[in-house]
């Protein structure tokens, strides 16, 4: 039997349906997630199949959605809520940081809040302002949260199922630009949460990416081969907690690393990755760890977003700047 081909949105839909099927305690709610099926149709058909008690529309209030989800989780349910777009999760920020992330700690483990907050995330779809934020650092900086972002439909399915099963709250960032990207999904594969994965093996340089930048990193690796660089691609999948082991092993092997993300670079996730790797792999490094990120600007309007977002050329440029021996001594490679 071959694995079916699904879009990421389709894989997420199937993940929600299977989770609702598997566990009566699972609820799906948010803005327009009922009969409409969500603005990205990730919850399509779920209200009809599981009924209004399990899948329902709420009043339009993000703090209300997350705050009531916290109460429901305290009372034994497992809410999976949707924020309509990344920047519209900010009204819920207090509930997320002050309560969702901390309740286990504040109650010394007595209260668990297994809430999953699904957030369509990132740019590249021509969205207007406030519809394309890369907000991962706000969440990864907050202890107590898991922050997960899939780069393939198969990961989307499995990471979502694992997130719903997680006893800890999860911020589940869904790269908007990958919603319609299709590939095979093996439902039996099983993807561990909290582990990065080497998506493509290589010997010379590690490209570290997640979510929307995974395809960009993979394309770059193909292009780099033509330039004579054998790039390895690591997909982080879970941003917090960070899988030091997998990433550091790759960088010790290749000795060079480029971190790629859409969010602004200043105080961005790439800074954390670079610092951790410097601490762990310093003596294996042949060059400083470079970051390829969005500029330090508010997310630009649709007609300019292509200038902001990292692309294959920028990543290739970064690879070229990695102090390769032929550039350093100017001898190797000269005929």
């Amino acid at each position: 039997m071959t694995a079916p081909t699904l879009s990421m949105a389709g894989a997420l839909n199937r993940g929600l349906a299977d989770a609702l099927d598997a566990d009566d305690r699972v609820l799906v709610f948010g803005e327009d997630v009922g009969p409409l099926g969500g603005v990205f149709r990730v919850t399509d058909g779920l209200a009809a199949r599981f009924g209004e008690r399990r899948v329902f529309d709420t009043p339009l209030a993000e703090s209300g959605i997350v705050g009531t989800a916290i109460g429901m989780a305290m009372n034994g349910l497992r809410p999976v809520v949707e924020m309509q777009f990344d920047a519209f999760a900010y009204p819920a920020f207090e509930q997320i940081t002050s309560h969702l992330a901390k309740l286990r700690n504040r109650t010394r483990g007595k209260v668990e809040v297994p809430v999953v907050i699904r957030i369509p995330y990132g740019g590249g779809i021509g969205g207007v302002e406030h519809h394309c934020d890369s907000s991962e650092m706000y969440y990864t900086h907050t202890p107590g949260l898991r922050v997960v972002t899939p780069g393939t439909p198969e990961d989307a399915y499995h990471l979502l199922r694992a997130s719903i099963d997680s006893p800890d709250p999860v911020i589940f960032l869904e790269p908007k630009r990958l919603y319609w990207a299709k590939s095979e999904v093996d439902f039996a594969a099983g993807v561990p949460v909290d582990r990065a994965v080497v998506r493509r093996e290589g010997a010379d340089v590690t490209l570290i990416a997640y979510g929307p930048m995974v395809p960009v990193a993979l394309e770059t690796a193909d292009a780099a081969r033509e330039e004579g660089w054998d790039a390895e691609v690591v997909d982080l999948r879970t941003l917090s907690p960070f899988d030091d082991e997998t990433v550091a092993a790759s960088v010790r092997k290749t000795g060079r690393a480029v971190v790629v993300h859409e969010a602004s670079g200043f105080c961005g996730y790439g800074a954390e990755v670079a610092a951790r790797l410097t601490e762990r792999c310093f003596h294996h490094l042949h060059a400083p760890i470079l970051r390829v990120t969005g500029y330090d600007i508010p997310y630009p309007p649709p007609k300019l977003e292509e200038h902001h977002l990292p692309n294959v050329d920028r990543v290739l440029d970064a690879i070229a700047r990695l102090q390769w021996d032929d550039q350093v001594d100017g001898v190797v490679g000269v005929a």
Partner: protein
């Protein structure tokens, strides 16, 4: 006596706060709710005496440096005790930082109640043991948790109700409005009790609210609202009991504003003389909720000196237990800092725990 049910009253609160007892402790002429039974009244009295003694003890402990901070609820005992006694065991209570007396009334161990304020840990009690949410310091966020717990109870087919306590200042926060709206739309079995004690730290009601009363805020959300004399323990009990019963029977949420007064400063760290006149305090002292119920019980022959002395003695013993508990030096274990962040400590947290353990060797 004719009494008026919650649904007959409609959404709007009456112009004057509902009361069963006058400030002098006499029954009001035409009560709209039945007077609680004698057993309840005696229990209200006893718990209020215990609560006030507990509050005084906690205040004293701050002066000795045993508590990091203590927000007193002296003067608000009718709300703290009346509302909690109106709950059944299966119901939930969502308190704020000021509601320690509500917690001990609910049966939470007094020393565990004070753990947060003492600084030993963020919470001393198990929220599931007495169905009491963690005392909440961000204002109004607990309102949404209460709605969530209450809605979950309905979804699970249980008939428990959630009571959430909040202050007058907290009604200005967005979460209060979201919670009232969610509760109205979902018809969630939740009771909001606003203890309007006149001030949010230093900010008076005149700068907090332009509506005729805080209870009026329920109408826009379709939530029936009641204004009650918050220094009348019989009335607070009766009104909350009525709202809890309605919620349990599927009648949805109620918003209650209890008009009361905070006799002490906001916390031991606050100087109330900077924003309020001592004559105001004197006025409210003359409306003391404990005096009121005591006068009534005596007039009914339900309370005599012997019984009052017995309650006072019980309160002294209770205070002694609090003192002993708080004076015991229990050092929190730093290793616990790394537990309870996630269900399982992450590799990074294990490393950090080892680092601190090394430092402490």
């Amino acid at each position: 006596m004719t009494t008026v049910t919650r649904s007959e009253r409609g959404l709007l609160p009456a112009a004057e706060p509902l009361a069963l007892l006058t400030a002098a402790g006499e029954p009001v002429p035409a009560p709209v709710l039945p007077m609680p039974g004698d057993e309840v009244l005696l229990d209200l009295h006893r718990r209020m005496v215990l609560g006030r003694r507990f509050d005084a003890q906690a205040t004293a402990l701050t002066k000795q440096g045993r508590l990091a901070v203590y927000p007193s609820s002296r003067g608000q005992e009718a709300c703290e005790v009346g509302a909690v006694l109106a709950l059944d065991e299966r119901d939930w209570l969502f308190p704020t930082y000021r509601d320690s007396v509500a917690l001990v009334t609910r049966g939470v161990d007094p020393v565990e109640t004070l753990t947060l304020l003492q600084g030993g840990w963020h919470l001393g009690y198990d929220p599931y043991e007495h169905r009491v949410g963690p005392q909440c310091t961000p204002l109004a966020t607990n309102t949404l948790h209460a709605v969530g717990v209450a809605h979950a109870a309905r979804l699970k087919g249980e008939d428990s109700v959630a009571l959430v306590l909040l202050g007058d200042g907290a009604t200005s926060e967005g979460d209060t409005h979201e919670a009232l709206n969610f509760a109205g739309v979902w018809q969630a079995p939740v009771v909001f009790l606003v203890q309007n004690n006149g001030y949010a730290i230093s900010v008076p009601m005149s700068k907090q609210n332009a509506a005729p009363s805080l209870a009026h805020k329920g109408i826009g959300y379709g939530v029936p609202s009641v204004l009650v004399d918050g220094n009348d323990p019989a009335a607070v009990y009766a009104v909350v009991r009525d709202a809890v019963r309605a919620a349990r029977e599927g009648g949805g949420p109620t918003l209650i504003e209890a008009k009361t007064y905070r006799i002490e400063a906001h916390t031991n760290a606050d100087d109330a003389n900077r924003y309020r006149d001592p004559s105001e305090v004197a006025y409210w002292l003359s409306r003391d909720p404990l005096d009121r119920i005591e006068a009534y019980l005596r007039s009914r022959g339900l309370l005599d000196d012997a019984r009052r002395d017995a309650v006072l003695a019980e309160a002294e013993a209770f205070a002694a237990k609090v003192r002993d508990g708080m004076n015991a030096d229990v050092a929190p274990d730093p290793a616990e800092l790394f537990e309870h962040v996630y269900a399982q400590p992450t590799p990074a947290l294990r490393e950090q725990a080892a680092q601190l353990a090394e430092e402490l060797r």
